[in-house]
Symmetry: C2
Subunit: 142 residues, 2 copies
DNA sequence: TGTTTGTTGAAAACAATTTTCAACTATCAA
DNA sequence: TTGATAGTTGAAAATTGTTTTCAACAAACA
């Protein structure tokens, strides 16, 4: 797990300034174990006593995602959620009812990429693998 | 490959009326081998001489997707593309530059679902697997 | 052929996200 | 410590994909 300090350093290393707003966002992310929307992050950062705007959250999440420091998940309705990226975990299961998200140990899809590369001629660069299923809590209800 | 007639029957079977607009959309989809946005579909249907609106395209795509007659892909920016669903093919590679999309033979992820179900307690119902990579044409440029 | 009820579309509403641009501030050099 | 520089911020407006509204319309069945 990245510490907040390490994340800050990474930002600096890549030429980003370490502003109060970015500190606030990193702190909010570090305190949550769930995937959060930009609005969620804004709320939590404000709750921590910082003052910042939603625009800044979007911009910061773009930067963090570019650096690979946060993982962005894509939901059915097109909106995004973010959480600090943890090493070795690369995929997640999302509950369609409550959006609760859990990562699972990466599975090796390398063989698949190679096979698809060969059969389609596409140079595979990236992939999404997301599973959807009701979480234990939501199963309890139904 | 579904014929247009079969698709129409499927719609009727499920209680949908077979309108001129839906005919137009089915025809447009049948004539394209690419994944199209709603706007693309509208354009093509109009080019075929039909008169219809974008709202209808959205509504029809929802219906067709619910029935499993079209496959909907999710792009980075949150917008969608559709193509008639073909049996046995369940995943695709998308070119990030031109959005050209190609399906590849389904790979068996059953073992993965079971493993994840067990370790997370989520009841896996569905999944997305999308690969991204530059298509042969776009590679030629770079 | 008429009646019922699903369907349509223009316009407005929505929601997530991006852009604009002037004010601001982290950082660095002196 | 103090400018100066250039990245950063945020309120508001603009964008974009998509959904809703609601009155007019038209499949499909009796």
């Amino acid at each position: 797990m990245h510490s907040q300090k390490k994340l800050s350093k990474q930002l600096r290393r890549h030429g980003y300034r370490l502003t109060q707003q970015r500190r606030a966002i990193l702190q909010a992310l570090a305190q949550s174990h769930e995937y959060l929307t930009s609005a969620d992050i804004l709320d939590r950062a404000k709750a921590l006593g910082f003052d910042l705007g939603l625009t800044t959250v979007y911009r910061t999440m773009d930067a963090l995602a570019d650096l690979g420091l946060v993982k962005r998940i894509h939901l059915e309705d097109g909106c995004h959620r973010y959480a600090l990226a943890s090493q070795g975990h690369r995929h997640y299961v999302v509950c369609p009812d409550c959006s609760r998200t859990v990562e699972f140990e990466g599975c090796d899809l390398g063989f698949l990429f190679q096979q698809v590369s060969q059969s389609t001629g596409f140079a595979i660069q990236d992939h999404w693998l997301e599973l959807f299923g009701r979480c234990p809590q939501c199963q309890g209800v139904g």
